[in-house]
Each structure stands twice: as structure tokens, then as C-alpha cells.
């Protein structure tokens, strides 16, 4: 890259992204299948969604891939903003927010049409937990050669 603070450690970026993706998938599995299961069922019926498609393999695989993509994204943001904001969980939290905020705002514009507001608030609160847990886990893995050993 073109900056003056060294290059990304691609290996650590991949490792951090994978860990973040795994953590986010676990969080989403718990929230979708236990905490929000009745909410999603209500939204699906309200919007006449096809339950076979909703719970199908394609949907499951896509959503697993989405969590890995988001995990990589958050760890990439963390690595990119480290020289300015420093390393550690505070910067990982900022990176997670930079990914979460646009998603939450965009979904808010759909809330009145697709969701109901109560489902929106509950699902986004759990998404925030997922982003933060994934981001902090992935950033914990990411380090660079110039980091001082703690």
C-alpha cells in the first residue's frame, strides 16, 4: 500500500478475518435460532416470505459467507486505521462500528417496510454484539512485526 507506516500483515489479516467470521457466525446462530426465532417467524409471515427459501441451504450458506466477509472487512479496517488510532480493543471497537453503523442505518430505512421496529431494534442490538465480538477477536489475532511484545 502507499502509506508511510508499513504494509499490512496479510497472513494475520486472513487469520484475524477467519476468527472474526467464526465468532460472528456463532453469535448470529445463537441470535437467529434461539433469541430472535419467533421474531423472524413473525416477519416472514407478515411479508409472505417463502419459508422454504428462508430456511433453505442457499440462505444458510450465503449468511455464513456474509459473516466471514464482514469479519474480514472489520479486521481490514482495524489494520488500516491502526497507525492513526493505535492498536488494541478500542481501535477494534471503532473498526466494528465503522462496519456496523452503515449497515444499521441502511436497515433502519427498511425497518418500517420490511421489519417491524421492535424486531429491528432487537436484531440490530444483537448484530452490534456480533460485530464487536468478531472485531475484537479478529483484532486480537492481528499484529505487525513492529509491535512491541507485551
Amino acid at each position: 500500500m502507499n502509506g508511510d507506516r508499513g504494509k499490512f500483515d496479510i497472513g494475520k489479516l486472513v487469520a484475524g478475518g477467519i476468527l472474526a467470521g467464526v465468532v460472528m457466525n456463532i453469535c448470529d446462530y445463537v441470535s437467529s435460532n434461539f433469541i430472535l426465532v419467533n421474531d423472524w417467524d413473525r416477519v416472514a409471515r407478515l411479508r409472505n416470505m417463502d419459508m422454504a427459501v428462508l430456511g433453505g441451504t442457499a440462505s444458510l450458506v450465503t449468511n455464513i459467507a456474509v459473516d466471514f466477509a464482514l469479519g474480514f472487512l472489520i479486521v481490514f479496517i482495524y489494520a488500516a486505521i491502526r497507525p492513526r488510532m493505535g492498536r488494541g480493543p478500542a481501535t477494534a471497537t471503532v473498526a466494528a462500528f465503522l462496519a456496523f453503523l452503515p449497515e444499521a442505518l441502511y436497515m433502519a430505512t427498511l425497518a418500517s417496510a420490511f421489519y417491524t421496529w421492535d424486531v429491528y431494534v432487537r436484531s440490530q442490538a444483537l448484530m452490534l454484539v456480533s460485530y464487536l465480538a468478531g472485531g475484537i477477536s479478529g483484532a486480537w489475532i492481528y499484529s505487525e512485526p513492529e509491535d512491541d511484545p507485551d
Binding site: 508511510d4 507506516r5 427459501v53 442505518l105
Partner: protein, 140 residues
Amino acid sequence: MAINAGKVIAGGLVGGVVANVIDFIWNTTVMKADMVDLGKRFGMPDEALNSFATAAPWLIVDFIFGFVIVFTYAAMRPRLGPGPKTAMIAGLMPYIAVTAVLWGFQSMGMMPMASFVKGSATALVTTIVGSLAGCAVYSE
């Protein structure tokens, strides 16, 4: 060095204006039929689809996206360097975050794949042009 907050606000406003203008063009031309179809799927009445109350959150969101992108650009500059390449990378961060989640919803049957692809392509253009405009304002 601290982030120049004033320039982030100025850049975010410019990026938001540019994104809103481009989104207006997309939504009244290329995406018009898809938006009507999506509204029908969600059971929205036609008058709601064309009302200011429905459009207002989208207008505000484009401005907030502008601030987020310019802040991300400012935070990434020491590592990636100033300039349009970093501006585009900064813009791609929220774009990927939103598009990935929408892809998940698309797979659950929320919208047809054609609408998702068309919407993602138009949003990519909006994001890149808005990012370049907003980040051009930011300096240190």
C-alpha cells in the same frame, strides 16, 4: 496527529449532497421499477412509496454515509496515503458492509437477484463518486 473534524464534516456534507443527487437519478430512472416492485412485495401503498416521509430517511442516511466515509478516509490516510485510491477504499468499507448484509437478505427471498445486482451496481457508482467528492475536501 488528530483527525481534522471540521474537514470531516465539510467532506461529509459534500459527499452526502453528491450521493443524494446520484441516488435521486438512479431511483427515478434505472431503479424505478425495482423500487415499485419492492414496495409492493412489502405491502407499501403507492402514496407511501412516493412520499417525502419515505424519502427523508434515505436523504439523511446518505449524509451520514458521507461522514462515515470521510472519517474512515481520514483514519486510513497514515497507512494508505492521501488521494483518490484511499478515498475509494474508504467508500468501499460501508458499501461492502451494507451489500453483504443485503446479499444475505436476498438469499432469504427479500428481493429478486436481478434487483439486488442492479441496486448494488448503482450503489457502487454512487459510493465511489460520493467518496471521491467528499474525501477531496479533507486535508490536514
